[in-house]
């Protein structure tokens, strides 16, 4: 029976179901025990599964990540929480030098089936060091899957898939979406890793986004349809690694225009990667340069100023307006033989 379910509740249900089905799954981190996590994602897990399965650790993120590596060597599947994006930085060496590389270093003999959960990004009025969009560091690191669900259904499904994965998964949870709701019947399975989804079909421009900015993209598309007569297609990447070139490029070849929307600072980030890929693969279909809408290239601002930093509907629509609307894209290119999406 479907019922209104928040994103946070969906994550909690995914952890519960994984703990129930697989005895090798362990959940640990800071405040995940009796408190249930500062965002209550692990609510009740220690009570229901015991201290051996869900437990608090010393306050040391490198220790948490490294301890998980050690547990993986003994066949466990740790799901660890970093509490906040910026609190995950002490674990960076463990993540980059060991978590990401162990399979490769050992020629596939030792694998690390662990999930690192990062509540991330802003828009919640958080003070400094609580609102970083840190996904860029992880997508730049080969060996990690990087996943960021934007709906309660995806939150459940992708977390289950992450826990079942034999590769390490960086699981980025937009804090601003924890309280978002959907009618949901659990358990549910949505599209697998490596699959982007068209959240709103449109004919004129493709808006490619992920994580915390998906609701903004949909809102901008609705407003554009009413006020500007632009029919915006919204693509939700869902998994940043592996990246779904196919869905993204098919959409851009259909519309002939592309805007990449990311909450993170723009310089050398995930948005830049998407824009480059689209430019390389869809150049001949484009009526206008690929544009980006991102956060500013500044340290995350104090909460009263964060609205100036975050991409909003206005910044999105202002950018869409710059897409050389007087030019007609060549939309026949997608049908030509030999255009597989790989640049020559």
């Amino acid at each position: 029976m479907s019922r209104p379910t928040t994103y946070a509740q969906a994550l909690n249900a995914a952890l519960r179901d994984a703990l129930t089905e697989d005895e090798s799954v362990l959940v640990f981190g800071e405040d995940v025990g009796a408190l249930g996590g500062v965002f209550r994602i692990t609510d009740g897990l220690t009570r229901d599964f015991g201290e051996e399965r869900c437990f608090d650790t010393p306050l040391a993120e490198a220790g948490i990540a490294g301890y998980a590596v050690g547990l993986c060597t003994q066949g466990f599947r740790p799901v660890i929480e970093m509490q906040f994006d910026a609190f995950g930085y002490p674990a960076f060496e463990q993540v980059v030098s060991h978590v990401a590389k162990m399979r490769n270093r050992t020629q596939g003999r030792l694998t690390l089936p662990m999930v690192i959960r990062y509540p991330y990004a802003g828009g919640i009025g958080g003070v400094e060091h609580h609102c970083d969009s840190s996904e860029g560091y992880y997508v730049h690191t080969p060996g990690l899957h990087v996943v960021t669900p934007s709906t309660p259904a995806d939150a459940y499904s992708l977390l289950r898939e992450a826990i079942a994965s034999d590769d390490p998964v960086v699981f980025m949870e937009p804090k601003s979406l924890y309280w978002s709701k959907a009618e949901l019947e659990l358990p549910t399975r949505t599209e697998p890793f490596g699959t982007a989804v068209v959240r709103r079909e449109g004919a004129d421009v493709t808006l490619i986004t992920y994580g915390p900015q998906v609701p903004n993209a949909l809102k901008a598309a609705e407003i554009a349809a009413v006020e500007e007569d632009w029919d915006i297609e919204v693509v939700d990447l869902r998994t940043l690694v592996p990246f779904d070139d196919e869905t993204v490029m098919a959409s851009v070849r259909k519309t002939g225009r592309a805007v990449v929307l990311a909450e993170a600072q723009g310089f050398a980030g995930m948005g830049a990667e998407v824009a480059a890929r689209v430019s390389e693969r869809c150049f001949h279909s484009l009526a206008a340069p690929v544009l980006r809408v991102t956060g500013l290239d500044i340290p995350y601002p104090p909460p009263i100023l964060e609205h100036s930093h975050l991409p909003g509907v206005d910044r999105i629509l202002d950018t869409v307006a710059r897409l050389q609307w007087d030019d007609e894209p060549d939309l026949t290119f997608a049908d030509r033989p030999g255009t597989t999406g790989v640049p020559a």
Partner: protein, 384 residues
Amino acid sequence: MSDIAHLLPCAEPVRFLAPDGTPAEPTAETAATMEARGYVIPDDEDLLAVWRGMVVGRRFDAQATALTKQGRLAVYPSSRGQDACQVAPVLGLGADDWMFPTYRDSMALVTRGIDPVEVLTLLRGDWHCGYDPVSTRTAPQCTPLATQAVHAAGAADGLRRKGVEGVALCLIGDGATSEGDFHEGLNFAAVFNAPVVYLVQNNKYAISVPLARQTKAPALAYKGVGYGVRSEQVDGNDPAAVLAVMRAAYRHAREGKGPVLVEAHTYRMEAHTNADDATRYRTPDEVDGWTGQDPLVRLQAYLVGRGVLDDARIEEVRAEAEAFAADLRTRMNAEPQVDPMHLFDHVYAEPTPQLREQREMVRAEIAGSAHAAHGPAEEKEGAR
């Protein structure tokens, strides 16, 4: 005070054998603690096994250094002088136990029974880790300092959770005790009562930086006390003492009494690696002083004095070590077989679409790029 007495290391390093192989004479205080902690000099049979391991290990070490001069290894960090720490702790491990070594612990890996060619894969450069960590119960040699300290704690906790009566041995150097992960490892191990034993091989230098720049502590062993970890210090050039202390530490951990930190006072006789020049930061007199502390000479003198080791056996093991080195030399002289296509095999369980594209690109480059004249294409064509 009595509450922490069981954590404190002996006031002086535990020692059974003097440098000349005669019985050492500890102070009354240390002797009492040694007795209370159950440190007894190992029997002749066990010490003969350690001696044999050290003879073979040292020959391996010399052969590896020679291989760098022949260009067969990119680099080699020798552990000569630390032989007692490389051999005795490993021989004290059981089949279910795990080991977490560093890049300087190749001799320990050979003692573990791992094929020396697989041990040297990292340094030859045809892959990162040449052996199977799962079947050998030995983690890849760790280059990022102290990061393995938390891995060992987690693995030990995993052994406990599985109901295996195993321990994890974490090898670490003096420089790495300054890294945060060393402290996080000790703390996690203590809080979760993980059966892990940390062996700090204090060889006095972190490349060129002396111990005085790492710590003001009276001994590195005291670093365990603040975490509630049983701590000990041992003469790292006394193989009998190292084996006795490590065995007691394993027993302590195995019995569920928590982790142990052991500091072994030893010395790195060679430079940091063959690429280092140790004369820039230490004097010949200092090195000579440690030559007189040689762990192999010490144990051999003791065993000969006991009448359990004679020239015939010494010659027999020397020949065994020579054969071991000769076999290694022969096999290392074969060109390593590498294939750039393998670069894509173990990044993920399944390559991403992007990696599949890049694999095709490299395949085409090897087949002969249209621009081959502009790049080092021949370097990509397999074995160097």
